[in-house]
């Protein structure tokens, strides 16, 4: 071997941030190799199925399971009577997994079977005889809230008819309710009476938002197994494993330490897996009784019938402004159809009131919600969490107010849009704020102002196609939301002898691409290629605590946590290297898998070699670090005020449509979006996130609707529940406003929910621009639009429910 003169090797600076990096799980998913819960089978496993109510609202007079129990292959049949220790579940603890004495909605669970095959389980369900006594169905929340309405959760009475007056603190499932009001929210800042007095123009309208559902490609499922010592292992699709571990423990009356949750890859979440549903607890009961693993998977029809929906809302908004375009006040009343039981949908006012109080400068705001029980399906959390509904009303009023004062709608928005440094009436502090940039960018790139005027002129032209353009903006939390005692996330990071990293994070992957972004952030710190990392994120026995995937928080919170752990590792590595090579730590850096000289990029030592030295020769040490990140946000006070998120995301979208006045069909031709995302981390990932969100918003605006009549779902299938299909997806032009948030990981803010929020509102404005007709009710299906164009839609009016208003 000849000894050639060696030039020192130099590693050029490079960065992973902002690059287009394919999602790490993409090859597996695209090639059909991913093992979802549907693909997992445990030996000895039984199959669970649930018998749901044949009635909407009825007393259960008797249940006969004898024939089902006698069917060969059936191991367990359970009804409420078989589970004396049932605890009430749900956000308001207002129902039992297996219903006791009464059914209140179509999805209600009456009995469950575990059998050797799905077919046997299904056959057994058919053998169960239930005798009902029908009760009047209440499917209209306006009826349900009236004094004297029949009660969905009546207070229990003794055999002699006397009121039992159960003690305070007992759950609703036990003690019932004297009325149908599940929850109320009241928020105020400023004084709307004064605001109204200062207004030159005041408008009031009622808006109706409909039922849609998540339509996850992977239907819901669970596998539960108790081991010989009574420990519970669950394969679950939950988005919130750590909180749910506690909650399951409560429902089963067992020690949370004995529960382990493994999350197989999830075929879509979008918020639907944020609550615990009866089927999950029932699956646990079955596994406990059968002493065998039990797998329970929904059919597609069941997925429609028994999954949560987006919160339907009836909303009356009164708003005003001055002639110069200054917004003066907003007064809002909403009626939330709570369905038969309370899930997260009832709590969407947390987000809705933020939008009403703080999207644009609003000096005076008064907000009220009542969520009322009905016999309808119940709503859960769904990407946007009330914000689509709130934005739909507000952004239509922005256009309407502008029109009334004769001001250009773009100028009107800009006049009221906030800048960074402002604090809103609700106490939200906008540290980074690219709001005006979003509005301007979306308007310019779509040629909004010119087209808006042109379309108005063209309305009177002959022909059946009318073009329209409409805008809407949005504000959403972008740095977590401090709802629970902690909004944090933990990370464990370990490096092996080959400088490969294992990132163990509490943050769940639900398809949003968090694994890839977290890997990028870690590799960026450690100067490693993305191929050097493995992510472990799906086992509560291994991963550190995280509050769950919601509120667009994972990139921000888990990202900062991952960076924290990586920084600690880097500090340790550089300290070791500095000592070994006798220089200052600050002279060194990590790049391309090497320790280098920070000034020149010259290689000092291969990182893997240094790690091996550390492990085997020097100190017998490994590089393993942990970090827990808690965002600097605060809890809201009793009046819902406070800086609840560490950062806020902004966006503006312009939607262009063609309306066929012969048929009412609306074709969405283009969406121009500008989103303040703090900073783009994975460009490919964020583009996908925005595009997917826009399409979800498009379905909400135009085609999707769960049709509920008297509590009965009319279209629990993909034939009649119309998702947007590929040919309908509009052209998209997406810009990213990089406001470089000071607290965000590499400057980034959350964007998971943002892209879905504006679409329906902007579409409503576009239809109005095209036709001159305003639509207050979603979705804009051909028939609805056609009716509106022909003056066949009575003006919606809902008088707020409170006697004192």
């Amino acid at each position: 071997m000849s000894v050639a003169e060696k030039k020192p090797r130099v590693i050029e600076p490079d960065s992973l941030i902002g690059k287009r990096i394919p999602k790490m799980d993409a090859p597996e998913k695209a090639s059909g190799r991913t093992r979802y819960i549907h693909d997992i089978n445990l030996s000895g496993q039984l199959y669970g199925r649930i018998l749901r109510s044949a009635r909407i609202h009825a007393l259960i007079k008797s249940i006969d399971t004898s024939a089902a129990r006698a069917l060969p292959g059936v191991h367990v049949v359970i009804t409420a009577a078989d589970i004396p220790d049932q605890r009430p579940i749900g956000v308001a603890r207002d129902h039992f997994p297996l219903k006791v004495g009464r059914v209140r909605s179509q999805r209600d669970e009456i009995a469950a079977v575990a059998a050797e095959s799905e077919e046997i389980a299904e056959a057994a369900l058919k053998l169960i005889r239930v005798v009902y006594e029908d009760l009047p169905v209440i499917s209209d929340p306006e009826e349900a809230i009236k004094p004297g309405a029949a009660l969905i959760h009546p207070e229990p009475h003794g055999a002699d008819g006397t009121h039992l007056h159960l003690k305070q603190g007992t759950s609703i499932a036990h003690k019932g309710k004297p009325d149908n009001i599940a929850m109320t929210f009241d928020y105020v800042h400023g004084d709307v009476i004064q605001g109204e007095a200062e207004s030159d123009v005041v408008i009031e309208d009622t808006f109706r938002l409909h039922y849609v559902t998540h339509c996850c490609m992977g239907v819901s499922g669970m596998i539960a197994e108790f081991d010989a010592s009574g420990n519970l292992l669950m394969y679950s699709n939950t988005q919130v494993p750590f909180l749910h571990k506690r909650e399951f423990a409560e429902y089963l009356n067992m020690d949370p330490a004995r529960i382990r949750i493994i999350q197989p890859p999830i075929g879509g979440g979008f918020g639907s897996k944020l609550d615990i549903y009866p089927f999950e607890v029932i699956c646990l009961y079955l596994a406990r009784a059968a002493k065998r693993p039990v797998k329970m998977l929904f059919t597609r029809e069941e997925e429609f019938l028994a999954s949560p929906t987006r919160q339907p809302v009836l909303l009356t908004l009164r708003s005003g402004c001055k002639k110069d375009g200054t917004l003066t006040f907003r007064q809002v009343h909403t009626l939330h159809d709570n369905g038969a039981y309370t899930s997260w949908g009832a709590t969407t006012p947390f987000v809705m009131m933020q939008t009403f109080s703080s999207l644009y400068r609003v000096p005076h705001c008064d907000y009220h919600t009542a969520a009322v029980y009905t016999n309808n399906p119940y709503a859960g959390s769904f990407r946007g969490y009330g914000n689509l509904q709130a934005t739909f009303a507000i952004e239509q009023h922005m256009d309407m107010l502008a029109e009334r004062i004769g001001m250009d709608s773009l100028a009107f928005r800009l006049k009221n849009a906030q800048d960074s440094g402002e604090t809103t009436g609700q106490g939200m502090v906008f540290k980074s704020c690219g709001f005006k940039d979003c509005i301007n960018t979306a308007a310019q790139r779509s040629d909004y102002t010119r087209k808006f005027k042109e379309n108005e002129v063209n309305r009177s032209r002959p022909g059946n196609i009318r073009r329209g353009i409409g805008m809407a903006s949005m504000l959403h939390v972008g740095g977590g939301a401090k709802i629970y005692p902690s909004d944090g996330c933990g990370t464990i990071l370990k490096m092996d002898d080959f400088a490969n990293v294992t990132l163990i994070t509490g943050a769940s992957e639900i398809g949003q691409g968090s694994e890839t972004v977290l890997s990028q952030l870690v590799c960026e710190e450690l100067g490693l290629p993305i191929s050097a990392i493995t992510v472990v994120n799906n086992d509560t026995a291994i991963t550190p605590w995280d509050v769950g995937v919601h509120a667009s928080r994972t990139t921000f919170i888990a990202g900062n946590s991952a960076i924290g752990a990586a920084k600690k590792a880097k500090t340790k590595i550089l300290a070791v290297a500095a000592k070994k090579y006798e220089c200052a730590e600050s002279d060194l850096d990590l790049r391309g898998g090497f320790v280098i000289k920070a000034s020149s990029g010259e290689v000092v030592v291969e990182l893997s070699k240094l790690l091996r030295n550390l492990h085997f020769q020097d100190k017998a040490e490994l590089v393993m670090t942990t970090f827990y990140y808690e965002p600097p946000s605060v809890h809201q006070d009793k009046g819902f005020k406070g800086d609840v998120s560490a950062a806020y995301a902004w966006g503006a979208q312009v939607v262009e449509v063609e309306v066929d006045t012969d048929t009412g069909r609306v074709r969405m031709t283009k969406v121009t979006g500008a989103h303040d995302v703090g900073r783009v981390l994975n460009r490919l990932g964020i583009e996908g996130q925005i595009e997917g969100g826009v399409v979800m918003g498009q379905g909400y605006a135009l085609t999707e609707e769960l049709l509920i009549e008297n509590g009965v779902m009319k279209n629990p299938n993909f034939r009649d529940y119309k998702l947007v299909t590929a040919p309908e997806i509009p052209e998209m032009d997406i810009s990213f406003i990089e406001s470089m948030d000071g607290e965000g990981p590499q400057g980034a803010k959350g964007v998971g929910e943002a892209p879905a929020i504006c679409v329906a509102a902007a579409t409503a404005n576009a239809i109005c621009n095209a036709t001159g007709v305003r639509m207050f009710e979603l979705p804009f299906t051909p028939e609805k639009v056609y009716r509106a164009l022909h003056g066949q839609t009575p003006k919606l009016y809902w008088k707020p429910w409170r006697a004192d208003q």
Partner: protein
């Protein structure tokens, strides 16, 4: 899903119709109606499930004299790609182009669409305005018996036809149209693809010197079966397509149909659409 006792996949027409003799047989072609219907419990699979996809006599598109025969097993995709169909019946291609999705079209058969007898079946409307007839085969004794009937008399109600339980639909026959023949189809749904028709319209006839004759009009999804619209046809017969006539005919069409409310649309909207789309289609014919 109900489970059949026997499964049979005949390889000749004789075997297939022989099997049908005992009556308790469910016929499987592409399965795109059968599968969802049996899953949902709407349809019960009988004792024997007979897969007819290996019967050669049920395939192919051929010119026989002045008629074109399309075998019952021909898939929607095959129809769309066939040169004879493209040349003589572009209206059928048009309808197939709005049928379901690529995946469904690759397996869904013409015979299945006909026998499923949905009022919204998309090939039925163009077939009706093309005066197609249905070929049936059975084996009452020991030999094969074939006969045919006009498609316009074949449908009795949703999912119900004049086919007896021991008959197999083997294909359709359509006379090659003469000169000056025109035919148009329009399907209206919520979305451009993968949708069941809210309404559909077929219009055909001979257009000579601005006068329309031999008029055929058919409507889908406005009655228990796909229907020919005799009053609309009468109003159009021998007429010149000027604005007044078109307006009048569209009104007659609206009054002629008796649709229902369902999850897809109300009766009112369907009637409006029959009016507006009939008008639009006739205007296009007039302008062409």
């Amino acid at each position: 899903m109900t489970e059949p006792k026997h499964y049979f996949a005949p390889t000749s027409l004789d075997q297939a119709v022989e099997c049908l003799k005992d009556g308790d047989v469910t016929i499987l072609a592409g399965g795109t109606d059968l599968t969802p219907q049996s899953q949902s419990g709407k349809l019960r699979i009988k004792q024997t499930l007979m897969n007819i996809r290996r019967v050669p006599e049920l395939t192919g598109i051929t010119l026989e004299g002045d008629e074109i025969r399309i075998g019952a097993l021909t898939t929607i995709t095959e129809i769309m790609e066939n040169a004879l169909v493209k040349q003589h019946f572009p209206v059928l291609v048009e309808a197939c182009d709005h049928f379901a999705s690529d995946q469904i079209r690759n397996v869904a058969t013409l015979g299945g669409n006909i026998c499923n007898a949905s009022p919204a079946g998309d090939t039925l409307i163009p077939l009706l305005v093309l005066d197609a007839s249905v070929e049936l085969a059975s084996m009452p004794e020991a030999t094969l018996y074939r006969h045919s009937m006009p498609l316009s008399t074949f449908f009795v109600g949703p999912g119900k036809t004049r086919r007896s339980l021991c008959e197999l639909v083997t294909g359709v026959r359509i006379r090659v149209p003469g000169p000056n023949h025109i035919a148009h189809f329009h399907k209206l749904g919520t979305r451009p693809a993968l949708d069941i028709s809210t309404i559909s319209i077929g219009i055909a006839g001979t257009l000579k010197e601005g006068i329309l004759s031999n008029v055929r009009v058919a409507f889908g999804a406005v009655a228990p079966t796909p229907v020919r619209a005799s009053q609309t046809e009468k109003a159009l017969e021998g007429q010149r397509l000027d604005a007044v006539t078109i307006g009048k005919v569209a009104g007659i069409a609206r009054d002629e149909v008796k649709p229902i409310d369902d999850v897809r649309a109300t009766a009112w909207y369907r009637k409006e659409m029959i009016h507006n789309i009939t008008k639009r289609m006739l205007s296009h014919v007039a302008q062409a």
